[in-house]
């Protein structure tokens, strides 16, 4: 297991990305899958920093990487006071057309990218924060 704690400050997600890439490379993931993992970890960590921890630098985001024989599990914990409404977020795909017409924020792609790039994603609330659990299979 590899565990790291980062301040809730944008930019620190790159530290999580670098560690995840290093673990994935060590496990033998192909380069294109490592790129998927890097983007998924970046987006999930940014969500934890901005939304979960409201960019409070004193509040840490915890990233736990669990390498196994056939898969890599990555858990990202924030310290949000209320649960993240994952069902709603996952059910609403971002529309580029809506964004280009000015009817929706240009942002809001993180969940879509995470969902698209990893094999499994689920959200839970521990009572002290949200956990995003992502799984990437070695042979997918």
């Amino acid at each position: 297991m590899v565990e790291m704690r980062i301040p809730s400050e944008l930019g620190w997600e790159r530290a999580a990305v670098d560690v995840a890439a290093s673990v994935a490379k060590h496990m033998g993931f192909p380069p294109q899958r490592i790129e998927d993992i890097k983007t998924a970890v970046a987006e999930a960590t940014i969500n934890a920093i901005e939304h979960g921890n409201a960019s409070d630098k004193a509040s840490k985001v915890v990233i736990i990487l669990l390498p196994e024989q056939e898969k890599l599990e990555i858990n990202i914990h924030d310290r949000a006071a209320t649960p993240f409404d994952a069902t709603r977020a996952l059910a609403t795909l971002p529309s580029l057309e809506e964004k280009l017409s000015g009817n929706a924020s240009a942002r809001g792609w993180g969940m879509f990218l995470i969902q698209s790039l990893v094999d499994e994603v689920e959200f839970s609330y521990t009572g002290t924060g949200n956990v995003v659990r992502m799984v990437i299979h070695l042979e997918s």
């Binding site: 301040p7 400050e9 944008l10 930019g11 620190w12 997600e13 790159r14 530290a15 294109q32 790129e35 998927d36 983007t39 970046a42 987006e43 940014i46 971002p94 580029l96 057309e97 964004k99 280009l100 017409s101 000015g102 924020s105 240009a106 942002r107 809001g108 792609w109 993180g110 879509f112 990218l113 698209s116």
Partner: protein, 116 residues
């Protein structure tokens, strides 16, 4: 912790090229929009964003491009893209952006496209 982006302009007639270097994240907003505003002062109807010098791009950075694209479409200006890694080409296609910002492997291909 976050590093910035450098955006510089050059002519590649009939294109204006915006070379991006560094990290394209939420912090790139001012630099990218300022570069695009300068590009609009130049003659030509197409702007090529060159990502060859970008070592990190996230969804907040892509959202800045969507904002630029929104403005460009209002002005009837075409935006083109080059220098993306295969991974980010895939991301742009997944998001539907490639439909509005054609992706080219080389600047020359983009220039030929803009010359047609």
């Amino acid at each position: 912790m976050a590093n910035g982006v450098r955006a510089s302009l050059r002519q590649l007639s009939p294109l204006i090229v915006i070379d991006l270097e560094g990290e394209v994240t939420t912090f790139a907003d001012e630099a990218v929009n300022a570069a695009y505003a300068r590009a609009c002062e130049e003659p030509g109807q197409a702007v090529l964003f060159n990502f060859a010098g970008v070592d990190y791009l996230n969804s907040a950075g892509i959202a800045i491009l969507i904002g630029v694209l929104t403005e460009a479409r209002k002005a009837g200006r075409r935006l083109l893209v080059t220098g993306l890694t295969p991974h980010y080409q895939k991301i742009f296609r997944m998001m539907g952006l490639a439909q509005y910002m054609p992706i080219f492997e080389t600047e020359e291909q983009a220039r030929e496209f803009a010359s047609q």
